[in-house]
């Protein structure tokens, strides 16, 4: 019982954490909260099932293809929904444009792929057990992403450029950093991370269009709690959320578990609107 809660909790929590990181990467580059994080997660599963199960490609090829699609979709998101509205001072406009785009993709998936959950293929042909790949694949993906991002931000020039844009985009531009290209690269990166999350989590969550709404919300909770922009906060928040959710499912059952998660989310946000690790908003006058 306990082992089950821990293994599922951490696994699904790792998926949530990765979606949270997706939100963060998009936010850092553009100060835009994008509704497309859950969409990327959903597509990771759906496209994976499409390439590997329906089209018969080998798993590795399927994975690479899915990540490539994620990058492309990330670029499209930036081009179509973020860049055109960045000039406007009103923040809510980009919330709306990303929401509209995410909805369009979700409905398209529902119509073309179907509204029922479809099976996701077994990636590594080893049998199930308590160390099943359903569990460690997402956690591995999470670890790889975290390490990868740390290396990127600290060791590479482009990573440090990302950080610069996130800290102070005016100063960064004044220094000659190409803000637009960096933003595009960030969104592509977010696309890769988001689809990776969905791909590795799909053996648990299945290839299902409804995952978008689920991941949108549960992927956002770690960000809200851990602080927008803080990847470490997202990981801690995601894993904690996964464990809490599974424990609540076990203790009080599905319906009340959802209420419990939401209640905790709201209470923490009201007490600390910037999250447990985030920074307060800048000067406005």
């Amino acid at each position: 019982m306990f082992a089950s809660i821990v293994s599922y909790g951490l696994a699904v929590g790792a998926v949530y954490a990765l979606i949270g990181i997706t939100y963060n990467v998009m936010f850092s580059a553009s100060r835009v909260f994008s509704f497309t994080a859950g969409m990327l997660g959903m597509l990771g599963g759906v496209l994976g099932a499409l390439f590997i199960a329906k089209m018969g490609l080998p798993a590795i090829v399927g994975l690479v293809l899915v990540l490539a699609c994620g990058a492309v979709i990330g670029l499209v998101t930036e081009l179509l929904t973020v860049r055109p509205v960045l000039k406007s001072i009103e923040q809510h406009l980009y919330v709306l444009s990303t929401l509209a785009f995410a909805l369009m993709v979700q409905q398209l998936t529902a119509v073309e792929w179907g509204t029922e959950a479809q099976p996701f293929p077994r990636l590594i042909p080893i049998g199930p057990g308590w160390l099943d790949q359903q569990f460690w694949l997402p956690m591995l993906a999470c670890a790889v992403t975290i390490v990868g991002l740390e290396l990127l931000y600290r060791k590479t020039l482009i990573g440090r450029a990302f950080l610069a844009i996130a800290e102070d985009s005016y100063a960064a531009r004044a220094l000659g950093l190409p803000e637009t290209q960096l933003r595009m690269a960030s969104f592509a990166l977010a696309g890769v991370i988001g689809t990776l999350a969905g791909f590795t989590g799909a053996e648990m969550l299945l290839a299902f269009f409804g995952n978008q709404s689920i991941l949108n919300f549960y992927g956002f909770v770690p960000v809200a709690l851990g602080g927008m922009g803080s990847n470490r906060g997202a990981v801690v928040g995601g894993l904690a959320l996964g464990l809490f959710q599974q424990a609540a499912n076990f203790l009080v059952g599905g319906i009340f578990a959802a209420v419990a998660v939401f209640a905790v989310f709201i209470i923490v946000l009201l007490l600390r609107p910037e999250g447990l690790a985030g920074a307060s908003t800048a000067r406005r006058v």
């Binding site: 509204t115 479809q118 578990a257």
Partner: protein, 397 residues
């Protein structure tokens, strides 16, 4: 799949054209087609039943029309896809009853929409035929013109309960459903029925279908000593998770429950084929293999489907048969009684032993549930062939 979609689009195009011309409300004149309102959910979350039923309905209507129709008048199916959404069903009922002035309404095919549509169709005094299972949908006093051509939830659960308690002779039962209306209603109805039969319900719960991990639930069932699991849900993902978890735990208990346990979608989500062993789902005697053979009417029907090149492997035979029966019943009624509402209802009230492919239908003025108890049976799901199954072991033939 493409056959269905083409037919649906064709039907919808016809429907759209009628909507456009609807302002001139047509009287049912000599050579004009007889309109039948049809409310399937062909898209949206609960559409798999609709798609299956649709194949049968469209085939039957085509055959009737090819054979000259009803005294020279063709049947026109006016299709309004409800999209599994009760609000769309309500809009569609208004259109079909008031503007199109249909002779009969066939459907909605899903309980959720039927619950909203039935009172409104009754208010508009249009005869209604539907295949939904929720008990509350039939009430001779509130809805005198509504008739059901399928079993009720009580009958279905009764069949499963009978199998577990009287055939398998098991005493301790775990009952689990998802959190949808159908799931919760089923559990609420079946648990008291089980207890009345002397069984002990050691576990009873509703679980969110999206939950990827059902291990805690099955572990709780196991530690309570359950000898059988009875799941009630039309969600293939949920059902497959139950079967997969049972397999992973190596827990050898029979699973007895909802028809969808045997659907192609559930099968596709299984981790290994053995997980489909010892699973018994509701089915209907007229469409099950007994000693390797289908009953005569069903066998004939399957030949007919093969000739019309209708796909059976990705759906269930009984859905197609049900759709066929519904349309055929309406065709037979219109031929015998004519298109007037009161005549149709009077004819239905007298129906006795009508030989459908799916079931043998009998109605009386006091009983508008037409499906006989004896024809609700359990089948063995891993015997799936051409959309039909073997009768579960232990049934007298």
């Amino acid at each position: 799949m493409s056959i269905t979609r083409r037919k649906v689009l064709a039907g919808s195009a016809v429907g759209a054209a009628s909507l456009a011309s609807g302002l001139a409300a047509p009287a049912i004149a000599a050579n004009e087609p007889i309109k039948i309102g049809y409310l399937p959910a062909l898209t949206g979350p609960s559409s798999s039943t609709g798609i299956g039923i649709n194949r049968g309905t469209v085939l039957a209507v085509d055959e009737i029309n090819a054979g000259g129709g009803i005294d020279g008048r063709k049947i026109e199916l006016i299709v309004r896809d409800t999209q599994s959404d009760p609000t769309k069903a309500v809009n569609a009922v208004a259109e079909l009853a008031q503007r199109q002035k249909v002779a009969i309404v066939w459907g909605p095919l899903n309980s959720g929409e039927a619950l909203a549509a039935t009172p409104l169709i009754a208010r508009d005094k249009v005869p209604m035929l539907h295949p939904c299972w929720v008990d509350e949908l039939i009430d001779v006093k509130k809805y005198p013109m509504a008739f059901r051509i399928a079993p009720t939830n009580t009958q279905v659960g009764g069949g499963a309960n009978y199998y577990v308690v009287d055939v398998l002779k098991l005493k301790k039962v775990a009952v689990i459903s998802d959190t949808t209306g159908y799931g919760t209603a089923s559990v609420n109805t079946y648990v008291p029925m089980l207890k009345a039969k002397g069984a002990e319900v050691v576990y009873e719960n509703h679980v969110d279908a999206a939950n990827p991990d059902l291990k805690p639930e099955l572990l709780r069932m196991q530690s309570a000593g359950a000898q059988a699991i009875m799941p009630w849900s039309v969600n293939a993902g949920f059902l497959s998770r139950i079967l997969n978890t049972r397999g992973a735990m190596g827990w050898d208990v029979p699973v007895v429950g909802q028809t969808t346990l045997g659907s192609g979608q559930t099968k596709a989500l299984l981790e290994k084929p053995e997980n489909w062993n010892k699973v018994y789902s509701n089915n209907f005697r007229q469409v099950c293999f007994a000693d390797g053979k289908l009953p005569e009417r069903a066998q004939e029907f399957v030949e007919r489907l093969k000739k019309a090149k209708i796909e059976m492997g990705d759906t269930l035979l009984w859905w197609i048969a049900l759709g066929w029966d519904g349309a055929k019943m309406m065709g037979d009624t219109l031929k015998a009684a004519g298109p007037k509402a009161d005549d149709i209802v009077a004819h239905w009230n007298k129906t006795k032993g009508w030989p459908g492919v799916y079931g043998t239908v009998t109605w009386t003025p006091e009983q508008h549930n037409g499906f006989p108890d004896s024809e609700v049976v359990m089948c063995e799901v891993n015997s799936l062939k051409d959309g039909a199954f073997n009768l579960a072991p232990g049934y007298a033939a």
